[in-house]
Amino acid sequence: MANYMKIPLAVNPPRSFKTQAMANAPTWTSATGALTSGTGVTGQAVIGGSGSGAVATIAIAVGATLADVTATITTAGEGYKVGDRVDFAAGGGGVGESEWTDSLSFIIAAADLIAVEGSALNSYQLIPVDNIAFVKPVSATSAELITMNWDATAGRALKWTVTVDDVPATTEPQLAADLAEAINQASQADNSVPEVIFTAGAEVIDVDYS
């Protein structure tokens, strides 16, 4: 008989942007303005959505249509969700710079944010606990479930790596203790399949076995 635990995978949790160009083309927020191509305009605050703190560079390529507008995130921020609408106030217009004369809006795509494993059809990761050797504290956002399955090629045992978002914050030892407690419960009660309860509501964004 094998005993299992469940690690809940956060489904579209609030999280940070990737520092890269946003995937979707913008629309005008309300009034239709004018676009002028030019060099990128740095330091544009990302306004709205469910998060805060993100900053981007706006650049408009030759052609100067909405499809030519690129918003490249330079500061990742925190707390944004797929589907959020974020705006950039009218800006630019310096010598040689791109310019947009009214506010632009972008809809956040999944590719814009740090990747998460969870989805509506994949809301937890099953972990067999019987061959786990221990839970290794790694950092405040990561812990490893080291197994007793030795990989001779790699020169180490196979392991599960559990990654949580940095917000809401937990700590390195607490993350490991929370996972260990679920293993403890699973091994003490056959068929109970306990779900890990994370202190401070830490959200799992990835679980890998390697």
Partner: protein, 126 residues
């Protein structure tokens, strides 16, 4: 079914959240203080092969702190007894505390708590 022993983890919060780590002792057959570890680490040898000459060894690393040597020979005796108990009573997952923790000053208790686990492949002692 796996059998574990639990050990106190250093640095966990004190608001009722879990505070123990655990180590699988299902196939453990020996334990010793790790050589050259300043008596801060315990090796638990398993019967599971890691290659042709080595076995998987799980190592419990105590915080210890500057100049402290928390693990004693009596601790190893107690641990072996607890490994037997854990395997005789599946699901019991007993808690292993170092002897020194019982008489340590509150400020020194963290010396007797675990701050890491390591796994290695080691040739079993003769």
């Amino acid at each position: 079914m796996a059998n574990f022993i639990r050990v106190p983890l250093r640095g966990t919060t004190s608001n009722g959240s879990p505070r123990y780590g655990l180590v699988n002792v299902s196939d453990a057959y020996d334990a010793e203080i790790s050589p050259a570890s300043s008596n801060e680490h315990i090796r638990i040898y398993s019967t599971i092969p890691a290659d042709t000459t080595d076995v998987i060894v799980n190592i419990i690393e105590y915080y210890g702190g500057p100049g402290n040597a928390p693990v004693t020979a009596q601790d190893i005796v107690n641990l072996k007894d607890l490994i037997v108990k854990a395997n005789q009573e599946p699901g019991s997952n007993p808690i292993f505390e170092l002897v020194g923790a019982a008489v340590a000053a509150p400020a020194d208790l963290e010396d007797y708590e675990v701050d890491d686990f390591v796994q290695s492949s080691i040739t079993p002692p003769l």
